[in-house]
């Protein structure tokens, strides 16, 4: 189909949506939070705090304890004590009950968690409410069920917990990442020290309050807030049996180096630069919707984001035309507005990184296109959804992870060509395939080097489905039985 530029659609309509803000009346955020160690909130050893910022306004929300090595050591001691004194002696069935209780309480407090998640991290309330919080509860429900069935889960093997797990999580799905870490660890009989991301500690701290209310034995879950130095201290602590990290490939490599020569088990879930592949026989409109969800959901702050679009050349023009038109309907704005599609960029720093990549792309000769939406003018960190055409595998913006609402577009001619190009990356976390032909789906999925591959959909998660990558996207899996195995040893 040839595209007539006269036939551009006009989404700047007379009838627009009034603000529809989610209520904040029911939430409770303290002015100051300590670490959660040994079942209590305690002040940081050196008495230092830092502010967590609302990225939609640039204003501070609360004061957060700045964890250092002594705080981390204290937490690890508490976790070790709890493990030795009671958790390792608690039956699977009892562990399961605690985990179910946590799951139920997350559901009961879902609205509060959702609002706080959006306030602290910038993601649209629609996503917090319908994706993050329900999935977090689902992970606890799922792993609760395995706690007393470990021998059934791994027949003919004798599973035992590893001991104390140190867990470091990122800022893109704060509560969900905490759930992905804590639930399987506890189900398998471990105790944990969790370090939430520097820019998004609040929902982890609310989870700590919930865990207190759930009467989980003190020290089974400990939460130490802080920045990179707290994470480093946790990785280097000599009494940790296992490190689980989700974050950038760069830091993942540092962690690998740190644990080399120790007995610590490690799992890493790192970056990605997923190929989202559209064939000419794809259901085109649904594919365009899938592209949008793949890269603009959560402002593109998704490790498995479909950030490299590959369109079969015969339908490239129409897909790009539709993408550009469709992008005009995306509403960028207040994360607490129920109609917002794209929220605030998580931090000033991340916005800088994204804008830097946009400059790099332009300087490399790629053609930049952004939606024409209005941006709020209030001190928040905002970025319009955009795409780059005239790119290729040799472009930096195609090779490097941008972690923002920026899509690169390439064309391909054949199945063989696109498999080769999709795999031509150090990453291997995820990919998407769009075609109506079943045999093509099977061929693509066996050929693509990615841990998670979606066909005719994108960004779908379930606690039963193991998530993780190949190559420099890391190793180990979260979710399903594979996720459970990573917290056990088999004697």
């Amino acid at each position: 189909m040839n595209i007539d530029t006269k036939s551009k659609l006009n989404f700047n309509t007379t009838w627009s949506y009034a603000p529809a803000l989610e209520s904040q009346d029911h939430i409770q955020i303290n002015k100051k939070y300590g670490h959660f160690i040994g079942g209590k909130f305690v002040a940081p050893a050196k008495g230092k705090y830092f502010k967590t910022i609302n990225p939609a306004t640039g204003k501070a929300i609360a004061n957060i304890a700045d964890g250092d090595q002594s705080d981390v050591n204290k937490a690890v001691r508490a976790a070790r004590q709890a493990y030795q004194k009671y958790w390792s002696k608690t039956t699977g069935a009892e562990r399961g009950k605690y985990i179910y209780r946590i799951a139920r309480m997350i559901q009961e407090r879902a609205r509060e968690f959702a609002v706080i998640e959006s306030l602290d991290g910038g993601k649209p309330i629609r996503e917090s409410k319908t994706i993050d919080i329900p999935l977090a509860a689902a992970h606890f429900f799922y792993y609760a069920g395995w706690a007393d069935k470990l021998e059934y889960a791994f027949p003919n093997r004798t599973p035992e917990p590893l001991g104390v797990a140190g867990q470091i999580i990122p800022w893109n799905f704060p509560l969900l990442m905490a759930a992905w870490k804590i639930a399987p660890a506890l189900a398998a009989g471990n105790t944990v020290v969790l370090k939430p991301a520097e820019t998004t500690p609040l929902t982890a701290l609310k989870l700590a309050e919930l865990i207190q209310d759930a009467d989980l034995p003190p020290g089974v879950v400990n939460i130490v807030t802080g920045d990179g130095k707290a994470g480093e201290a946790l990785v280097n602590n000599s009494d940790i049996d296992k490190i689980a990290f989700t974050g950038s490939t760069e830091v993942g490599k540092l962690i690998q180096q740190s644990v080399a020569g120790t007995n610590k088990k490690v799992t890493l879930e790192l970056g990605g630069k997923a190929a989202n592949i559209i064939f000419e026989d794809a259901p085109i409109d649904q594919a365009v919707e899938g592209i949008i969800n793949g890269i603009y959901l959560n402002q593109g702050h998704v490790c498995c984001a479909g950030s490299r679009l590959f369109i079969q050349e015969s339908v490239a023009n129409i897909v790009i035309q539709k993408l550009k038109d469709w992008m005009e309907t995306l509403i960028v704005g207040d994360p607490l507005d129920k109609n917002t599609d794209v929220g605030a960029i998580n931090s000033k720093n991340q916005l800088k990184i994204i804008n830097n990549y946009i400059e790099i792309g332009k300087n490399e000769g790629a053609h930049y296109y952004e939606s024409s939406c209005a941006l709020p003018d209030n001190g928040g960190y905002w970025c319009r959804p955009s795409l780059f055409t005239n790119t290729s595998q040799s472009s930096r913006i195609v090779q490097e992870e941008i972690f923002g609402p920026v899509l690169t577009v390439q064309t391909f001619r054949t199945v063989e060509e696109v498999i080769k190009k999709a795999n031509n990356t150090p990453y291997g976390l995820s990919a998407g395939v769009w075609t109506d032909k079943g045999s093509k789906i099977f061929k693509m999925t066996t050929g693509l080097n990615a841990g998670v591959i979606w066909a005719n959909t994108y960004n779908k998660f379930d606690p039963t489905s193991p998530f993780g990558g190949y190559k420099e996207s890391g190793f180990g899996r979260e979710g399903g039985l594979h996720g459970l195995a990573d917290y056990l040893k088999f004697v």
Partner: protein, 299 residues
């Protein structure tokens, strides 16, 4: 116009359609934007009576309702049209004289469409002769399901010609077509054959209009627009009873096609009881007081 062998319709992914529709239906429309949507929706209604038992009396009273939706309440738009059987077109025209409300007639052996083409053409010519501004035809679903797409195309083109100045809406009867792929194919055939509007249903069978099938048809219209620059209208009919549903359809329309289509010239609701629910919501928002169905006339 290309012969049907050259009309290429894409396949439609059902899961994707349902997800897109669900996302659009979750939009929160409040305050002024809700009021604007309510009034827009009201203005887009084709007030309809298509019963075997229709009489001159019934149609006259329906037309009276069309003209006096809610007494002398200020700021209310009028409905777009009244839709009746061909034998009652003259009555409707007479009753609506002096107003801007159009008269649409169903034709072509509505609702089954199981009649020879000559009969369907004659039916159309009669309706137009009686004064219908718009013709709502039905496609031959039997022929379509037999794979005789050229026949379906030719029949639509012939009815379009017989309609003369009147606008032609082509009813696909989506509930009988089976899959969204089929709905898309039928939509494309209809538009290429000369339809001014494509319409979901006769309202006589279930399922009638759904948000999902409407989305499929709106996307067909979008692709046709990209291809030809022609603006084709859309009409979901049957099963739309509540204002909330109507607003969801408008959201879908807005985010699929945009400004040009947000008018009664290119979008209609085929509905009878919808009008009163919209009126109830308008009055409730204006006064802050919940209304009773008894305050709104039933004609």
């Amino acid at each position: 116009m290309p012969p049907t062998t050259e009309i290429k319709s894409p396949t439609i992914d059902k899961v994707g359609i349902h997800e897109r529709a669900a996302r659009l239906m979750s939009r929160s429309i409040k305050k002024d934007s809700k009021m604007m949507a309510l009034k827009l929706a009201l203005n887009m209604i084709d007030l309809t009576t298509l019963e075997g038992a229709d009489t001159i009396g019934k149609v006259k009273q329906l037309c009276n309702k069309a003209i006096h939706l809610h007494g002398n309440h200020p700021g209310l738009p009028h409905v777009a049209a009244v839709c009746v059987y061909p034998t009652l077109v003259r009555t409707a025209r007479e009753a609506l004289k002096g107003t801007e409300i159009r008269v649409a007639a169903v034709a072509t052996a509505f609702p089954s469409g199981q009649a020879p083409s000559e009969v369907k053409i004659a039916d159309t010519k009669f309706a137009v002769g009686e004064g219908a501004h718009e013709v709502d035809m039905v496609i031959s679903r039997g022929k379509f399901l037999q794979g005789e797409y050229n026949f379906v195309f030719d029949e639509i083109a012939a009815v379009k010609e017989a309609s003369g100045e009147a606008h032609l809406k082509v009813i696909l009867e989506t509930g009988e077509l089976g899959t969204y792929d089929q709905v898309r194919k039928a939509s494309d055939i209809a538009m290429h054959a000369g339809a001014d509007f494509i319409k979901t249903s006769t309202g006589k069978i279930s399922p009638a209009a759904t948000p999902q099938v409407t989305l499929v048809m709106l996307e067909a219209i979008r692709d046709f627009y990209y291809l030809t620059n022609k603006v084709i209208g859309m009409k979901p009919a049957g099963g739309i009873r509540k204002a909330k549903q109507a607003i969801q359809y408008l959201v879908m329309l807005r985010e699929t096609l945009g400004e040009t289509w947000l008018t009664k010239d290119y979008f209609r609701f085929g509905a009878s009881s919808l009008a009163n629910d919209i009126l109830m919501q308008i009055i409730k928002q204006e006064t802050g007081v919940y209304q009773s169905a008894d305050y709104f006339s039933f004609d």
